[in-house]
């Protein structure tokens, strides 16, 4: 399983992830991104999440592969 999180220390609210994976990322009242628990685990990485990671200017999206840890 892949676990997706946003590092709150790095996220600056560019919201690029919203464009690519609106079903995964949510935003707080100040515009910072987070991944609600119910959205955080996936058997397969979607193209949307891959693009969100590739386009995040702050490199704030972390993808952890459970099997490899």
């Amino acid at each position: 399983m892949y676990q997706i999180t946003v590092d709150p220390a790095r996220c600056q609210g560019h919201a690029r992830c919203l464009t690519f994976a609106p079903d995964v990322f949510e935003f707080d009242d100040e515009g910072y991104s987070f991944v609600p628990d119910e959205n955080s685990r996936y058997a397969q990485l979607t193209e949307g999440v891959r693009l969100a990671v590739a386009n995040c200017p702050e490199r704030a999206i972390l993808v952890k592969d459970d099997q490899r840890t």
Partner: protein, 387 residues
């Protein structure tokens, strides 16, 4: 003498220096990642994406005092929040953040479409027309002024102030400072008039009722916010719309592709932002001795982060100087990054996308009428409109 002390000695990122700045970037990047310019009192400048990113992540080393703007924007008042360092910066920024979230900006969508559609329809009725004056500039002026609470009767004054403060400052600094004073006086009067009024649901109302650390904002703080919102909210988006149209006017294939597949416009907009960035560079001041790509930089030295060069860094982008409208991996620096990420980036992006959508929908095939008009700035962009 070392190459990095001679190669970029007259490097500048304003006015005519922008005409061929992409060639300048290419030349400098191949020779040295950090160079020294003697313009504007002297500064180091970084052209590698990775170095710019690292500097933005280190606000304790790379301070925004006395100003991010080099030379200044017609005032020596520190602009809130861009010219403020941590820890105060976060308090000031938090006042505005909720107004520019994706959710807040989404509520403006309908109004943005309407404004863009009206302006584009007028453009479409001409054979030859300056789309900077008729579309790229008025659209963000109308949208942002309504959001901020700048009265409509005053809008005709805004373009000249923006021109004098942002574009004339390197040619005729006195003119920039005079306009800067006029803008300060304008907001001084507007804020005093607004203080008595009820909440109008705009940015000025928000500022008037905002508190930081349990106190209201002072009049000087309010003025500084308004000044920044004015210079940041009107010009950069106009530049982005104008430069995108400048490119499309010369590339009928790209124009046809976006007409056929409007869903591609947001992706193309990112590519225009990357390659034709409205903010080519911003300044910092080194707080402590440091080293960037092997170059020693001393405390007190000015350092310029050249986003426009980082956005064309061959270590990050394939074919960096090509505009690829469907480029997928596009982690660019057009809005800066770190704690000073452009606060209006969600709004600016939506404005650009909507502007292009409505323009392409309403206006027939268009091409440049005046080939000498440059890619940069908000000067005229004269287009020949087909039927």
């Amino acid at each position: 003498m070392a190459d990095n002390l001679t190669a970029g000695r007259d490097f500048d990122f304003h006015g005519h220096a922008l005409d061929n700045i992409f060639d300048t970037y290419k030349e400098l990047r191949n020779r040295c990642p950090v160079s020294r310019s003697e313009e504007h009192g002297g500064f180091w400048f970084l052209v590698k994406s990775e170095d710019i990113f690292a500097a933005e992540q280190s606000p304790d080393t790379f301070s925004v005092t006395p100003s991010m703007l080099l030379p200044p924007f017609g005032t020596d008042v520190p602009l809130i929040p861009i010219d403020i360092d941590p820890p105060e910066h976060a308090h000031y920024r938090r006042v505005l953040l909720p107004l520019f979230t994706p959710q807040a900006v989404a509520k403006l969508d309908e109004g943005m479409h309407r404004t863009a559609r009206e302006l584009a329809t007028e453009v479409a009725a001409h054979d030859v027309v300056d789309v900077s004056a008729r579309f790229a500039r008025p659209m963000p002026t109308i949208i942002f002024s309504r959001l901020a609470g700048f009265p409509e009767a005053d809008w005709p004054k805004f373009d000249r102030w923006v021109d004098d403060i942002i574009y004339e400052r390197t040619i005729d600094p006195e003119r920039a400072w005079k306009a800067g004073q006029e803008v300060m006086d304008y907001f001084d009067a507007l804020l005093k008039a607004r203080a008595e009024q009820q909440d109008a649901g705009d940015i000025i109302s928000r500022l008037l009722s905002a508190e930081i650390n349990g106190r209201k904002l002072t009049h000087d703080e309010l003025l500084s916010y308004c000044y920044l919102l004015f210079v940041a909210g009107l010009d950069t988006t106009a530049w982005a719309i104008r430069s995108s149209l400048w490119y499309l006017a010369q590339n009928p294939d790209a124009q046809a592709r976006l007409r056929e597949d409007p869903d591609l416009i947001p992706t193309a907009a990112e590519e225009f932002l990357r390659t034709l960035s409205p903010v080519q560079a911003m300044a910092r001041t080194c707080k402590k001795d440091t080293e960037v790509s092997g170059q020693r930089i001393r405390a007190g030295d000015r350092v310029v982060l050249v986003f426009g060069a980082g956005n064309r860094d061959p270590d990050v982008y394939e074919h960096p100087d090509e505009i690829v409208v469907d480029r997928e991996n596009n982690r660019h620096l057009a809005f800066g990054g770190g704690i000073h990420r452009c606060l209006g980036s969600n709004l600016g992006r939506r404005e650009l996308v909507i502007a292009l959508e409505e323009f392409l929908r309403a206006v027939g095939n268009f091409s440049l009428d005046n080939l000498s008009e440059q890619w940069h700035g908000v000067g005229p962009l004269t287009l020949r409109i087909g039927r």
